[in-house]
């Protein structure tokens, strides 16, 4: 036999041997190659809406208190209670108490629940006011349809990231927790509903080119047993999630998001403490609304003058839309109602920046409709917590 033949056989043997060593764990890990129509089967979906967890509350409070005692927290019925300074588990009881207080408050005109906590420092001044952002917990059990042993499932590390891309800036919305469970994976995704909506709003500004409008991105990473690490990413324009015309993105409203409403937030009525009044408002992240920094504007009143909507932009570019109208008794109008009453004859909303330092900003009627729909939905979501 020629030497080259022997060499080729030797090389082939080595390649096959290495391949077998690598492939054995893979095939040993697959108990059955029966594929369920080649699809991933989603089972046992759990969709629930949760407000802030005790851990989140503890983190937010400890950012200010550094674990010291002497701070008080005011919520709902404006009964200050001492803030724990110790372990996070101590906040669980506090969190439950806040929720219970919200359920039990007798004067809530919305007859709903609210979670705004005001942290008071040792002198009784407001140290921090935190409105609890709602989030949707989406738990999916992914059954692969290919039965695998637990060791096989553990050889494959999966990661999923849901994000939005606006003007080439990527904002992470959710990084679900993926846990191998037996022969399948459990994907638990918490989607901050309001963060999701803010990305949509931020991407709808007119000064962003169409190709840089808001997109939803999903990145799936698969790392196999240190052999390779592959990432698959899909970006879909967010305009595809909305119907109708308007805006630069086919139906995405120009402004939206983040409802903060707490008619019973601490308002300073107790002379012992100072405080602020929190009207129902919508906050958005105005990444795309460049040029609006350092200006603020208000929309003219409509009708009998009791309805008003104010637009404010802070130094970070965050935009707030607030209802400034009231029902005559001092109670703030629902923002949706206030917006509706502030629309002109064309159904548009015109914002006239204070001092005339910028051109009027017009939110077109169809965008206002989308805004109101989403605002109402968000408010209901918030109230449902």
């Amino acid at each position: 036999m020629k030497a080259v033949t022997i060499a080729k056989i030797a090389r082939l043997v080595v390649i096959i041997a290495v391949g077998i060593v690598i492939a054995i764990p893979t095939f040993a890990g697959i108990e059955s190659l029966k594929i369920n129509n080649g699809e991933f089967v989603m089972t046992n979906s759990i969709y629930e809406v949760n407000c802030m967890t005790a851990e989140d509350l503890a983190t937010n409070i400890k950012d200010v208190t550094n674990g010291e005692t002497g701070y008080k927290i005011v919520y709902g019925g404006q009964t200050p209670v001492d803030v724990p300074g110790g372990e996070t588990t101590e906040f669980t009881d506090l969190m439950d108490t806040i929720k219970a207080e919200g359920d039990a408050h007798p004067d809530d005109p919305a007859n709903g629940k609210y979670y705004t906590a005001t942290l008071l420092d040792k002198n009784g001044a407001i140290a921090k006011q935190q409105t609890i952002q709602g989030s949707a917990n989406l738990t999916q059990y992914i059954y692969t349809g290919i039965r695998m042993t637990e060791s096989m499932v553990n050889m494959v590390k999966m990661s999923v990231v849901l994000d939005s891309v606006v003007n080439d800036k990527r904002i992470t919305i959710s990084e679900p927790d993926i846990t191998p469970m037996g022969d399948s994976y459990r994907v638990k995704m918490k989607i901050p509903y309001l963060t999701f909506a803010s990305a949509i709003a931020a991407g709808a500004a007119d000064n962003i080119p169409d190709e840089k409008k808001a997109k939803m991105g999903l990145t799936i990473g698969v790392e196999y047993n240190s052999f390779f690490d592959a990432k698959f990413r899909l970006e879909v324009p967010m305009s595809k999630f909305f119907q109708g015309e308007g805006g630069g993105s086919g139906g995405i409203p120009d402004v939206n998001l983040k409802v903060e409403k707490d008619p019973h937030a601490y308002d300073g009525s107790n002379p012992e403490y100072s405080g602020v009044t929190v009207n129902e408002e919508i906050k958005i992240k105005a990444d795309g609304l460049s040029g609006l920094e350092n200006i603020s504007g208000s929309i003219g009143t409509f009708g009998d003058g009791t309805a008003g909507v104010r637009l404010e932009v802070d130094a970070t570019g965050q935009v707030r839309i607030m209802s400034t109208g009231n029902d005559g008794s001092g109670n703030p109008l629902d923002l949706v109602e206030s917006i509706q009453k502030s629309r002109d004859s064309n159904g548009d909303l015109v914002i006239n920046p204070d001092g005339g330092i910028a051109d009027p900003i017009t939110i077109k009627a169809d965008q206002v409709d989308s805004l109101m729909e989403m605002a109402a939905e968000l408010i209901e979501l918030y109230r449902g917590m």
């Binding site: 020629k2 030497a3 080259v4 033949t5 022997i6 060499a7 080729k8 030797a10 090389r11 080595v14 390649i15 290495v18 690598i22 997109k215 047993n225 240190s226 052999f227 390779f228 690490d229 592959a230 990432k231 698959f232 990413r233 899909l234 970006e235 879909v236 324009p237 595809k240």
Partner: protein, 176 residues
């Protein structure tokens, strides 16, 4: 060493050997140039600029982002230039000669370095991006241990080079 052929004049033997070496040099250069330069050049200068046109002809609203692929083909081409030189010199030596074996080993080492460089040492993240109907799909892959296996399998070719050397050595020494 029996010689069945009539002995030839030393000058003609040297001329023949020189012709064989020149032919080998040219053939080696051409073969290497086609693979290391021709293919990436065609991809960069013909396929890439006209891809969208091809898709339109088939009424497909499909675009490919060529940025990282372009870089890959560029690496392929520019790192291929020394490989063409190595290939030409390798082919210029007859099989069974010690110079051929040494040049082949050098060429093999060079091809492994070429492969690692073209694959960006395993980092092919954001390799290709395809946009269809406004939706964008991206694929990126980082080769970790798999890259080492590719190098190992390529390096095993030295066994074959040695086998060729052993088989052709006697023929070379006999002067065929």
């Amino acid at each position: 060493m029996a010689r069945d052929k009539e002995p030839v004049a030393p000058e003609d033997d040297e001329v023949r050997i020189k012709k064989v070496r020149i032919m080998g040099f040219i053939v080696g250069a051409i073969v290497a140039a086609i693979f290391y330069i021709g293919i990436p050049y065609a991809m960069i200068n013909y396929v890439e600029p006209n891809f969208d046109t091809y898709m339109e002809q088939f009424s497909l609203n499909l675009q490919i982002s060529w940025t990282n692929l372009h870089l890959l083909f560029e690496r392929w081409m520019y790192a291929g230039i020394p490989m063409v030189v190595l290939g030409a010199f390798t082919w210029s030596f007859p099989k069974g000669s010690r110079q051929r074996f040494v040049m082949s080993v050098i060429y093999l080492a060079g091809s492994i370095i070429w492969l690692l460089y073209v694959l960006n040492f395993g980092d092919l993240s954001n390799l290709i991006s395809v946009t269809y109907d406004g939706n964008t799909f991206e694929l990126g892959i980082v080769l970790t241990f798999l890259l080492y296996l590719m190098v190992l399998f390529r390096a095993l070719k030295i066994l074959i080079l040695f086998g060729v050397y052993k088989d052709e050595r006697s023929k070379y020494l006999e002067g065929e």
